[in-house]
């Protein structure tokens, strides 16, 4: 049973967003950024108000509060947008990556095989950590940072629901790769 999909930079960006929303490490880093950023902005605004314009202290305090809350609410979005920009730049500037373009996924008794124009990967069931589906993508996770991306709208051959049903039937978390090479 196999399917063929076509992937582009938007799919990598979608995976990056998915990673950011799940990773505990990233969540902690964003929380730190949010806290220190908000404190710095609020603190500086308050300091400036009370030392340079104490006669408008109430207005300054309100502005400081607005700036602090504004930054705190936008911090996650700032991190996400900055990461999206970096990914787009890296993938459009470099050489053609095996992470882009056509990919074939084949399900076998022993695991999954993926093929692109230049690579072929055999993945034992034991190496698959999780399979997560969102509205537009299915991510076959080998680790939180690494996954095969299946964009639902870009399946050019085969049936994704049938493939996922086959994965559900054959998946065995202790299965390793049998001897033999590609």
């Amino acid at each position: 049973m196999h399917i063929q999909v076509q992937r582009d930079v938007d799919d990598i960006v979608a995976f990056s967003d998915h990673y950011l929303s799940r990773s505990r490490y990233v969540k902690r880093a964003v929380a730190r950024y949010r806290l220190f950023g908000a404190l710095a902005i609020g603190g500086v605004t308050l300091l400036v108000t009370f030392t340079m314009a104490p006669d408008i202290a109430l207005f300054g305090t309100i502005m400081s509060l607005v700036a602090t809350l504004g930054f705190a609410s936008q911090a996650g979005g700032i991190v996400k947008r900055s990461r999206r920009k970096v990914i787009r730049r890296l993938y459009t500037a470099g050489k053609n990556s095996p992470a882009l373009g056509k990919m074939e996924l084949e399900v076998q008794e022993t695991g999954v095989i993926t093929r692109t124009d230049t690579t072929e990967t055999r993945i034992a069931w034991s190496a698959i950590q999780d399979i997560v589906s969102t509205q537009e993508h299915t991510f076959v996770h080998l680790s939180p940072l690494r996954a095969f991306i299946i964009p639902h709208k870009k399946v050019v051959e085969g049936s994704l629901p049938a493939l996922l049903a086959e994965v559900g039937r054959l998946y065995h978390p202790t299965n390793t790769l049998p001897p033999g090479t590609l």
């Binding site: 990556s97 095996p98 090479t181």
Partner: protein, 190 residues
């Protein structure tokens, strides 16, 4: 020809440090932040004092600000290195570096290279590999701007490293250099 080796967290940290040192983009961002905070630490307290009722204290404030900003400027690269190490340790502890650590194997074929690590076997044709970079401690196989495979020279479990690298460089097809001087046809006087 095969080689088996171990990848430790220290190797991933060394690679990330090399990548940061190599990336003009990251360097530019970090230097910008470094200069901004240094300038901010130097000027902000002095300006605040200058416009407040504590104007008489501008000189000691300036001296303290200058000391703090110089301290920050000097300590910043070390802070960044520590932050990277802490981040990588946290990622390892959270299980985010699975399939990047542990025993791995590379096998050179005429048509490409096979990498094996914990239940994952990938065959890369030579066309899939952007470039191979060898330093005294590591060999890096750059697949694209983001994906890189690492061979730490000091953690070989089996196989002959120098013979392997010779074979790898012999098989990896040379790419035409962008900076190669073109050979122009010589003018024929006849």
């Amino acid at each position: 020809m095969r080689i088996r080796f171990d990848i430790a967290l220290e190797d991933l940290i060394a690679f990330e440090e090399a990548r940061i040192a190599d990336s003009a983009d990251v360097r530019k961002r970090q230097n910008g932040f470094r200069r901004f905070v240094t300038g901010y630490l130097l000027l902000a307290p002095v300006l605040l004092v200058a416009f407040s009722s504590m104007q008489a204290y501008w000189l000691p404030v300036l001296l303290i600000s200058a000391a703090l900003s110089a301290l920050f400027y000097r300590a910043y690269p070390g802070m960044m290195r520590k932050r990277l190490r802490r981040g990588m340790h946290m990622m390892r502890d959270e299980g985010e570096l699975g399939l990047s650590l542990g025993e791995a194997e590379w096998e050179v074929l005429e048509t490409g290279l096979i990498t094996r690590i914990a239940g994952l076997e990938t065959k890369l044709t030579w066309a899939a590999i952007d470039r191979i970079e060898t330093t005294p401690d590591y060999t890096y196989l750059h697949i694209d701007s983001i994906q890189t495979c690492i061979l730490p020279h000091r953690r070989i479990l089996s196989g002959d490293l120098s013979a392997f690298l010779t074979e790898l460089n012999r098989q990896f097809p040379p790419r035409p250099s962008l900076f190669a001087t073109p050979t122009l046809p010589s003018a024929d006087p006849n």
